[in-house]
Symmetry: C2
Subunit: 192 residues, 2 copies
């Protein structure tokens, strides 16, 4: 059931780094994005697939992890992602990608979870530096980086209270994510 | 398998209008969005659920359908959506929702397909008029409208040629959607 997949699809930030993710698997995930909806069907998103340790290390330098965990500066060596998907906007096709980014990253991450993987969408990126480091042509604009690997942490959903939406870690390093209630998300509307 | 669900999740624009979609089902779809990732976990999206014919008719007036089909002005009476989800940005929480819109609409639509429903994300909306008509308070900004119902049309994926990404309908009213190839989406990168 989709709901189980969605529940399991948490933002994972620590991984069994030694466990490789093959290019074949990464391509299957892109195929899920490829078959997903695109606004006006323009399909202006492109992808760079990375699973080599040296390139992973290059990418890692330019990412910021879990902003609310101020005492934690990202996963230690040994717990880092073993693959990355860099989502790009091909501006030669169109600079306007509407909701395509989220649609495609959700397809990719649900597909990853189905394969026993997990990941995290990272939007806090030193974009200019990463683009230079990987020699990505300027026609491509980095939208987001999806970190992937075999998750090595527990993430639990809990009820959000007093509008405190910041995730937190307990002393056992379990990651807690407060979610708003269904009632809070649905606007009471005259017809209801 | 997720891939089957993604393949089946086409943008449907004609429906069995007489087949109702219950509020309970709409709420289950919002629960899928609720449990999906949110940038910085802020969760600034809210939803209006509509399944009453009179309100459906009000919403329909402000939507533009399938821009490339210039001879077709949207589904006829009898083939219109039997439900809508209006996705809102609650600007009192945050005006920045990053990729949350696409992530949540993908969860909603995959969930719909799993239930035998189908839908279409509509971004071409007379927003100000719709907001007034439904008396939606100004703290909420309309992001998109998801039309839902039991699909009454066939949609097929085909290979995109010569960068011609416009969808089209054949004489049997089958809707054809050209998709870029996997090779086109993956940027050849020095490590590959």
């Amino acid at each position: 059931m989709l709901k189980d997949l969605i529940k399991k699809n948490r933002s994972y930030r620590r991984f069994y780094q030694e466990k490789q993710v093959s290019k074949e698997v990464l391509k299957e995930l892109i195929d899920l994005a490829r078959l997903s909806a695109s606004a006006r069907n323009v399909q202006p998103l492109k992808y760079i697939l990375v699973n080599k340790p040296e390139t992973n290390a290059k990418i890692f330098k330019y990412l910021t992890w879990a902003g609310y965990l101020t005492d934690w500066h990202g996963p230690e060596e040994g717990e880092r992602p073993s693959a990355y998907i860099i989502m790009l906007n091909d501006t030669n096709i169109s600079s306007n990608y509407f909701s395509d980014d989220g649609i495609c990253s959700q397809s990719i991450l649900l597909g990853a979870v189905e394969q026993g993987l997990g990941g995290c969408i990272i939007g806090s990126i030193e974009r200019i530096e990463l683009q230079k480091e990987l020699k990505i042509p300027l026609q491509y604009k980095i939208i987001q980086v999806i970190a992937l690997g075999f998750p090595k942490e527990e993430v639990v959903i809990e009820d959000l209270k007093d509008n405190n939406f910041k995730y937190w870690r307990d002393s056992k390093q379990v990651h807690h994510v407060p979610k708003r209630s269904l009632n809070e998300l649905i606007i009471n509307f005259e017809e209801t």
